[in-house]
Symmetry: C2
Subunit: 440 residues, 2 copies
């Protein structure tokens, strides 16, 4: 294995600075690795403890008997060079330096030192000053909070919190992630290395980036160009205002750069740009699960008239074509549906609609030539919504997208079922339409 891959697919992990104090990061990370179900060897390193969390503690990395693929380092910054020297001697493939107190606080000399040691020994460094990493296919959550649910999204983030937010939302929704890497000061491993890695990762279907600056523009563009042939990329890059750019510099000493230039790069490389953390999540869901519609002609099917109107406004404002129904389709729908239904676009199945009514409507629109996408809005507690969507998906070449709201506990259950079946559910029609637009 190459050193970076040996981090993600590690079969043995050491936590240097593992603590018996439940409030310390060195305790939390060890606990998450254990509780996450990591199947390899786990070695707490702490010269002052007999054991940590039930595992025998080692005085140093060198004192561990078996091999160590990755060392997570949580000791104060001044001790990190010594730990890395030991890691080098031990043949550790990669280290994840959680500790802060390097370049971000002006301690450039210390930062250069750990880079030199890493180069000398062929060790890869994630961080320093970062929130670790998580790779669910290997059940290795060397980060916090504990996230174990596997899914198609790889999150690469220069902000631990933004990454953790996406991770936890994905877990709560039973969507899951493939991996999460906090870049920190990215003295070695940067966004480009990780795009190269997740591009080849069979568990990743979409790469979701939060970056404040790009380390090496030319390499970034090359990596993205190559990765885009295989999977979609979404990026949130703040610092778009002068005050924001100033804050970027204070945070990670990145240079935000002129936003027009980054915007042009995104357009050229077909990177989808998110403007908010919510969009980063929504767009990742859409791109991770759904395909490209053939065109921008949309049919909206709803049980909620109001939600249908809101979707219509959002689609029309976004340049989508909320088509008029063909005379033939309208006639067929009128024949098949109860008289209170509004046969138009939005197709309003009205408030007493059941899953069965969606099924009837779905069968008639499935093969309609004049439609590229179907937005299904479930606006009530409608049991059986998941089955209808799954059935329709099997019968049509149109892109289906789902919104569900106002449905209480039934909504929650159906949403999770839909997520497990690989169909993302958006909590409002506007968010569904915005997500659909990025697929075009």
């Amino acid at each position: 294995m190459k050193p970076l891959e040996s981090v993600f697919n590690a079969r043995s992990v050491a936590v240097v600075g593992a603590s018996t104090n439940p409030e310390k990061t060195g305790h939390i990370i060890l606990k998450n690795i254990i509780d996450g179900g990591f199947a390899g060897s786990i070695y707490p390193v702490n010269p002052n403890a007999g054991e940590v969390l039930g595992l025998p503690a080692h005085a140093s990395l060198g004192g561990i008997e078996g091999p160590v693929d990755v060392a997570v380092i949580v000791v104060p910054s001044k001790f990190v060079p010594d730990v890395m020297e030991e890691a080098g001697k031990k043949g550790v493939g990669g280290v994840v330096v959680i500790s802060g107190g390097f370049g971000e606080t002006g301690n450039d000399q210390l930062e250069r030192r750990i880079v030199d040691i890493a180069r000398q020994h062929g060790i890869r460094i994630i961080g320093p000053n970062c929130q670790g990493f998580n790779y669910t296919p290997n059940r290795l959550c060397a980060s916090w909070p504990l996230v174990t649910k596997s899914g198609p999204i790889a999150v690469i983030s220069q902000s631990g919190t933004v990454g953790a937010a996406i991770e936890t939302w994905a877990q709560d929704a039973e969507i899951g992630i493939s991996g999460f890497v906090a870049l920190g000061n990215k003295v070695d491993v940067n966004e480009t290395d990780l795009i190269d890695l997740f591009k080849e990762d069979p568990n990743t279907r979409v790469i979701s980036l939060y970056i404040e600056g790009v380390t090496d523009g030319r390499h970034f563009m090359e990596s993205v160009r190559s990765a885009r042939k295989k999977k979609p990329i979404v990026v949130l890059k703040p610092g778009t205002t002068p005050k924001g750019a100033q804050a970027v510099h204070s945070h990670t000493r990145s240079i935000a750069g002129r936003d027009e230039i980054f915007e042009a790069v995104c357009r050229q490389l077909r990177i989808v740009r998110a403007r908010t953390i919510t969009e980063l999540f929504d767009f990742s869901l859409a791109l991770g699960f759904l395909g490209k519609p053939k065109g921008n002609r949309l049919l909206i099917v709803t049980s909620s008239g109001g939600s249908g109107i809101i979707a219509t406004d959002a689609a029309a404002e976004g340049g989508m074509d909320v088509i008029d129904l063909s005379a033939r389709l309208a006639a067929e729908l009128k024949e098949a549906l109860p008289p209170q239904c509004v046969v138009a676009n939005p197709l309003d199945l009205t408030g007493d609609a059941t899953a069965e009514r969606y099924r009837v409507a779905g069968q008639l629109v499935a093969r309609e030539q004049s439609i590229d996408s179907i937005l299904l809005i479930f606006g009530d507690p409608i049991p059986g919504a998941c089955e209808v969507v799954t059935e329709l998906k099997g019968k049509t070449d149109k892109q289906i997208i789902v919104a569900y709201l106002g449905g209480g506990r039934v909504e929650e259950q159906e949403k999770l079922k839909l997520h497990r079946s690989g169909m993302p559910v958006f909590p409002t029609p506007e968010r569904a339409v915005a997500a659909l637009k990025v697929l075009l």
Copy 2:
């Protein structure tokens, strides 16, 4: 009591069309009234059942012995006039007609008939073709899904689903609502009547409207002008695009009208306009719980550098002043905080920040003259966040607003504690900043 108030403060309620079939609306509503804990008399009316949900069924409204303040009508539309005649004889104050099949399906004659009967007997009508109403202070959920949590938001909605979405989000967040009324075809009770009602309701602090058209522009403006002296109003009104306006007409036969005119009315009457369902909720939370800052000068305090930058961009784009710290405050903060903290705006307490660090920073900024609002971003699992916010709130005249993300289970617990203490928590910095802006 006036007829309309007798609906909300009813001491007795009949469900006409109460059903033993759990899938029927006439079952669900009766069940929600019972399960919601309504303390008054509950009368199922169903000539073909001995009892419904354990309550003795009555053959007709007239057959009920005691008084009936409100009758919820769920029978097919053609039977509604007879039920209303009976309600008139019985002295019922108001009816809520859930049933569809009136004006919205072209049955104008039937609609006029129920209006005539209501006028003749002095009965108020909510609906027809609506999702009922819910008034939590009276524990009367004559609607679906079941929502019982009491809170400051009154939701008046021409879409049952949009209203139910706000209700359920408010309940899940332990924020709660005061009332919810689905307007339906609003043949009698319309948005103006309900604004007048909720304006006087001591349980309501903010009025949240979803409307597709205004029934009577002059009355609407008068009511809003008067209500605005007492409480804020937020409105979501779609139909802003030609296709959307067309869908409005299909849904409720409302005339969306020219959006510039409605926009001008909102500006003149200081109605806050929401552009999405999410904004309708967020703005209602902000206006229901928070006060008006003295100006637009903002300090951002965060444990997440990235979230701080995102908040800075959002605030700067929205015309807020992300002020530079005064030399004195900067010196005090540098003295009090650990060296890794970035003493600037955003004030970055960094990833290892504890609640105690927020407390220390909060004490120093609480009396700073150059600040009007403080955005606290908790970007990690930080226990004790609620206590810090509550303490700071007691010490400062600045408006505090809170975002919490990336905190897993700790976040969920702290969020609910904050909500119970009357402080809304927004799930991203952007949403917090957008909500803060509407307070200005």
